[in-house]
């Protein structure tokens, strides 16, 4: 039961990781498409899960999770994420989110997080959030399946929470969307991920919206 409790601990929005400041494209989409409703939000979150998270963030997370704290592997995955994330604000946001995540774990006594934080500071690693989650979660006792589920849940809940704070949907509508996304997250984690899996993402609408958002004078979220 303890691994499950640890997964709940890490999926809890109350765990401080800086994620609340990032919309990962949602704010840009709402600016482009006024009147976005709960049905469209569900399609959007599902698309993000299928075309970005499952084949990209999840794969990066698993590769970092499986390397057993090997910094060379973690740094290599980190560099791959950096090189293959097209939009600058998504790259920078992912690094800042990762730095905050490491700051929390390092301060509460996780040795690997402290080492990764120092590696980011020295430039050895970049600190992308999915990579840091994979590495640190392997050290706090989550199993591989729970790590994937936790990641998928935090991505979906983060997108939906951003949409709620932007006023696109109500808090209860958001929970309905999130509940509808849970079977998809489970299904996507069932895909086998071989050790040499490539990072693949194709979510042009989210990318374009995030790129436009970076130029906005007024914005609530960092990306």
């Amino acid at each position: 039961m303890l691994p499950t409790l640890r997964a709940l601990w890490q999926a809890d929005g109350a765990f401080p990781s800086g994620s609340f400041a990032f919309s990962y494209g949602i704010e840009g989409i709402i600016a482009l498409r006024h009147g976005l409703d709960a049905r469209e939000l569900k399609r959007l979150v599902s698309a993000a899960l299928q075309h970005r998270w499952a084949s990209y963030d999840r794969v990066a997370l698993l590769r970092a999770f499986r390397c057993n704290g090997d910094l060379a592997v973690i740094a290599a995955v980190d560099r791959e994420v950096e090189a293959s994330t097209l939009v600058e604000s998504l790259r920078a946001g992912s690094r800042r989110n990762g730095a905050s995540f490491l700051a929390s774990h390092a301060r509460i006594g996780n040795d690997l997080a402290a080492i990764l934080r120092d590696a980011v500071r020295s430039g050895e690693c970049l600190g992308h959030i999915a990579v840091m989650q994979g590495a640190v979660w392997s050290s706090v006792g989550l199993d591989e399946n729970l790590a994937q589920l936790t990641s998928g849940y935090t991505v979906a809940s983060g997108l939906i929470t951003a949409a709620i704070r932007l006023g696109a949907v109500g808090a209860l509508q958001g929970q309905e969307v999130l509940a509808d996304c849970l079977p998809l997250i489970e299904q996507l984690t069932m895909n086998e991920t071989p050790p040499d899996a490539e990072l693949e993402s194709f979510a042009p609408f989210l990318d374009v919206a995030a790129a436009r958002h970076a130029q906005a004078d007024l914005r609530l979220f960092a990306n």
């Binding site: 109350a14 401080p16 990781s17 800086g18 609340f20 400041a21 990032f22 919309s23 057993n68 704290g69 090997d70 910094l71 060379a72 740094a75 800042r96 730095a99 905050s100 995540f101 490491l102 700051a103 929390s104 390092a106 301060r107 006594g109 040795d111 690997l112 402290a114 080492i115 934080r117 120092d118 590696a119 500071r121 050895e124 050290s139 704070r165 932007l166 004078d217 007024l218 914005r219 609530l220 979220f221 960092a222």
Partner: protein, 218 residues
């Protein structure tokens, strides 16, 4: 070079923050940025090595204002977007600010003090002691002389309450002395300082309070 040592074989760096961290919170328009602008030359004159982290709500206005002020090396000013949650970024989840402070410390070895300016908020705003060692809350007389009576947690729990824009008191129908006396009373005698950030009145006293509280310079 990267090495492949397991974490247990490397030295974990659980070092605490080297620079003292001071929070400056308060409602929108109370003069937090103006207070920092007024503090900068005073701290510089005292030879204090410092940097600033700003938390803007929807823009980078405050960070840009400080960077363009010519008062401080722009590299010493970091901006953290608050994600629409000025409370969260200084209290429930201060990790973005912690990371910004850590980054400043790494870039400026010898840094003694980091000022964290919160986004404009309300009287319930308080700083997490995970983020800061000591914090002040700023209100201004133009907000009304009943603000101390409202006893918001920010006003009550801060280490120092600053009542700014005291020059405006006669123009907004505020009796300053009773307002200050009430502020002291609701705070149980804890420190209250009156300032006019634009003229510099009271700023030396704020710098004295910071120096005594976290830099141990009296």
């Amino acid at each position: 070079m990267l090495d492949k040592l397991r974490p247990a074989e490397r030295t974990a760096a659980h070092t605490g923050p080297a620079a003292a961290r001071v929070g400056i919170g308060g409602p929108v328009g109370c003069g937090k940025t103006a207070l920092i602008e007024a503090l900068i030359p005073v701290l510089q004159r005292r030879g204090i090595d410092f940097a600033v982290v700003t938390n803007d709500l929807v823009t980078k206005e405050d960070a840009e204002r400080l960077r363009r002020s010519g008062l401080i090396d722009p590299a010493r000013v970091s901006a953290v977007e608050a994600g629409a949650c000025p409370h969260t970024v200084i209290r429930e989840d201060p990790t973005l600010n912690i990371a910004a402070g850590d980054d400043l410390e790494a870039r400026f070895p010898g840094l003694e003090l980091i000022l964290f300016e919160s986004g404009g908020d309300n009287l319930a705003s308080t700083f997490s002691l995970d983020l800061v060692d000591w914090w002040m809350f700023v209100i201004d007389v133009a907000g009304g002389d009943d603000i101390p009576r409202k006893r918001g947690p920010g006003l009550l729990r801060c280490d120092l309450l600053v009542v700014n824009k005291v020059d405006l008191a006669p123009h907004v129908g505020v009796a300053l002395e009773p307002m200050l006396a009430e502020a002291v009373k609701v705070r149980g005698g804890r420190p209250v300082l009156a300032t006019n950030a634009r003229s510099g009145a009271g700023i030396e006293a704020v710098a004295d309070a910071i120096s005594a509280a976290v830099l141990f310079r009296v």
